[in-house]
Symmetry: C2
Subunit: 340 residues, 2 copies
Amino acid sequence: MREILDIQKKLLPDLMDIMKKRYSILHHILISGVVGRRTLASSLDMTERVLRGEVDFLKEHGLLESDASGMKITESGRQLLEDMLPIIKIAFGLTDLEESIAKAYGLSQVIVVPGDTDTSVFTKKELGRAGAAALRKYVAKGDIIAVTGGSTMAQIANNLTISSSMKGNWFVPARGGLGESVDMQANTIASIMAKKTGGKYRLLHVPDHLGEEAYQTLIQDPQIQEVVDAVRSCRIVVHGIGDAMVMARRRKVDAETTRSLQDDGALAEAFGYYFDRQGNVVHKMPTVGLRLEDLQRTEVVIGVAGGKSKGEAIASVLRHGQEDVLVTDEAAALEIMKHV
Amino acid sequence: MREILDIQKKLLPDLMDIMKKRYSILHHILISGVVGRRTLASSLDMTERVLRGEVDFLKEHGLLESDASGMKITESGRQLLEDMLPIIKIAFGLTDLEESIAKAYGLSQVIVVPGDTDTSVFTKKELGRAGAAALRKYVAKGDIIAVTGGSTMAQIANNLTISSSMKGNWFVPARGGLGESVDMQANTIASIMAKKTGGKYRLLHVPDHLGEEAYQTLIQDPQIQEVVDAVRSCRIVVHGIGDAMVMARRRKVDAETTRSLQDDGALAEAFGYYFDRQGNVVHKMPTVGLRLEDLQRTEVVIGVAGGKSKGEAIASVLRHGQEDVLVTDEAAALEIMKHV
DNA sequence: CAGTGATGGACGTTTTATGTCCCGGGTATA
DNA sequence: TATACCCGGGACATAAAACGTCCATCACTG
């Protein structure tokens, strides 16, 4: 039952919207008993004309009937609604989640895929697919796209395909070396994405654990400077979101910094910045690349992360308020909604 | 699984068509490996532009990809096709049945509802619903609609609702008394339909088992004559189809006639006429109303009947060649296809 | 190096969807 | 009983989408 709806969502996304629309109309009429067209239109937030089109359809199919006093549901219509309840619950739980999160955090789009990345590898793949689809949607010709590392980003890279709209775009790592293993780090991801889409890429080769002096020398280097400039003028950022402590451990952050992170209540991590519960930045990794203030100029910031365990972290980053698009999974979405 | 599709069909009648279309495209590309747009369009019998619209859609969703050499399916697309197989099997079975029957007997539309009327009362209801929907589709303002009796017709009447397009239409019994029980006879059905739709009705009160002399007197009666004229000038006929022997028994036809029916190979019955396997009329009930020759002038003849046991009878009536629309169920449809 | 078949862009036309206004008719209320 | 209100449905201009058609350009093959 669930599978069939997931399949339909892939093959007929717009039909599912129509189904939802018609269901809402019918359901509203059922609840109202008898209701007029204009009243219904305003309470469903539709224009009168488009509601009328749907109502005419529903009437033709004998699901509702109307007389001078207004519209009411027929027996077939009532029966249909009853039969549809389980379908709607499954098919549109996610849609509702998406809309709630988008509204709560002022995002322009939220995509929720079913399942839990923590427990199902299939969900992680689906997350990658959805992330790739989201990127495909927002990308334009000649864009510079900054990406971060992580297993989720790697999944997105896997699901990108060659496409004319992305041919010739630049992929760059959002920030320099952040101490991740090679196959998950931003440099790798950027190059894979470029190869998969027929785009180009530039890398930021910045060694980990740099001393202050070496760091200053490095960022003066013209080659590095050129890439950094490209990164900071990117139009699109795609990044993962992690749990602060998990990321600190993975990046082998020293004990002192780790303790300081804990004291400051660091909860989430994204492109080298650590956020507390309120979305404040409490720490940043010492490397070059995208700075938080650059995000303001960035047109599209796409965050991708899933798993129940990451829900709270995602909520923290959202609260910081720089995100435009969120791609997540059902389990994380439910957690996020607990922290509005 | 099956239910969900049936439910969705009510709210999105073209869902199946679009799903079928997109599936066919993807499937064809899968089989072809790499194929060009024009080649594909001609082998799928679509115009190039329409195909292109669908292909663009599928490409955007990452189900297929294209380069200078042509289009080919992606891994997600291949996976989707695999997942869809069971759905398609179910969804297309009925559609194929509908199309096969329509083609075999030259009908303009065939509607097959799932199930078997013989074994499931729910299927019978569904048949009534589908019959009502078909009538709704073909009816126009000011039409005269001739109907017959029977339990299936009663179901149709049950499923009609008030609608402006049928308000003011006339419902008349196709033929006079045919010896059925009161609540199933044509007169009753016509009056119920009129009440349900906001239409008007005229009845044919013709006693059963009329002698020849009384019959002649009766048809001279101006009142009767008026109704008969209306019946014969009807634009739409909706009728059930029955098994000849079952009907003969139900109508308490005398032993001699019954034997004669058997000798003549009577198989099916519709609006008082009995048909043999080849669709020839072998007997007619002695009453007034619609004659076979009137059907030629009738624009829309809708036959409604279901159940495995009636399959052969339906095929006989179809072979007679006056039907335009058939509404039946899956079990009967499968039987019908055995008799092409 | 010409020929074939591919994609993707472009454009005018047709069809469909939408916004908007109005009319006549019930209905509840003053 | 009079009136103000809300109802469905008709009408129409306009915006938007779908469609048919043609063409430029590119990759590959013989």
